[in-house]
Symmetry: C2
Subunit: 218 residues, 2 copies
């Protein structure tokens, strides 16, 4: 018997959209997965020896990059933030659309006014640094794990870099988008070594790729 | 009118124990704070111009260290992990007790067997690195934001460093504690500059200190 294939999915935002797509690809977590009182992190898969782990989005990438999971689903924001050499993102699943944006208090002058040094709060220090480097601006990134939108009002940072979908959270906090840094969608990701050595991984990539092509054609 | 004093509290574990203590110190969040459907991050304080922000534990330390909040409550695990120069933790609140421990699969040989290189999964890369340096062991830390207990079973790491209270989560995942790295309890933390310049901060420190002394004497 071969080792079960580990499939990592992220808690939260993307998961609801990913489950129907996963089901069409034959990846169906056991009923316990949907029991909100269940604190387990690992689940069996119906009619398959796959094992599904549900972890935070950043951890999905870490598990896959290290080969502890062979396959996963995660936003392109996370893929780009880490830029792991051993992580390959072959399929854009065309779900979980949002954008990574730079935002600032509504009153503040826009883009052109970047001073030569500024402080930016973000969960994405690498993407933020790279963005400002391209602009020739020296930015100090204050790493937060949430609550970015509080930072400007309390003087922690003059700008934030955060995921935006409807823009309502920004609005509620008196912030406006200044620039879009990255258009985000969910990706199927695989561990490069697993893709070469485990034909189940290659088969999954083909199945998801075909599904997305069907959706597009429909 | 002076600027409202910002008091940062952590989501989760510590908060339930902290609220009664805060109330006795005169820090009582408005009713909306307890409305679980309320996604707001910032709240008024009853009978005071204080403002309470509720953020993740690691972010409490970041807000206070940068002076965006003057006062906060957070576990000593977070204080020690960051070791921010501008963050001062003057009062041990004697609540939120747990420990930061090294753990490994139950079958694996114990402490003495540390090989010269090992991979450890943790949310606390700095504390983990410092611990292994003291042991003269080279450890590669894989940073995870949760789900540490999955790491050994999936081959992501041979050991984990994580918070332990009852030990049930470790047990459920076939892990045993190998060493206690840090005894953890919640601390009142303040921004050093705010402590010097804002007498409301010094007054809060005195009040919490007196409360804890009373509890001990009782």
């Amino acid at each position: 018997m071969s080792k079960p294939l580990i499939f990592a999915v992220p808690k939260g935002r993307i998961l609801d959209e990913a489950l129907p797509l996963m089901a069409r690809a034959g990846v169906v977590p056991e009923a316990a997965f949907h029991d909100k009182s269940n604190r387990a992190l690992s689940f069996a898969c119906e009619g398959s020896d796959m094992q599904i782990i549900r972890v935070r989005a950043f951890d999905v990438a870490t598990f896959v990059a290290h080969g502890a999971a062979s396959v996963g689903i995660v936003g392109s924001d996370v893929v780009e933030e880490f830029a792991y050499a051993d992580l390959y993102a072959p399929v854009d699943l065309a779900i979980g659309h949002c954008r990574l944006s730079l935002a600032q208090p509504a009153g503040q002058a826009q883009g052109g006014s970047h001073s030569s040094h500024l402080r930016v709060a973000s969960k994405y220090p690498n993407l933020t640094r790279r963005y400002f480097e391209r602009q020739g601006v020296q930015a100090e990134v204050v790493k937060l794990s949430g609550a970015m939108e509080l930072a400007p009002g309390l003087g922690l940072a003059s700008r934030i870099v955060d995921l935006v979908s409807s823009g309502q959270t920004l609005k509620d906090n008196g912030l406006v988008e200044d620039a879009v840094i990255l258009q985000v969608s969910a990706r199927l990701i695989v561990n490069r070594a697993a893709l070469k050595t485990d034909e189940r991984v290659a088969a999954l990539v083909d199945r998801f790729r075909a599904l997305v092509a069907q959706e597009k054609a429909a």
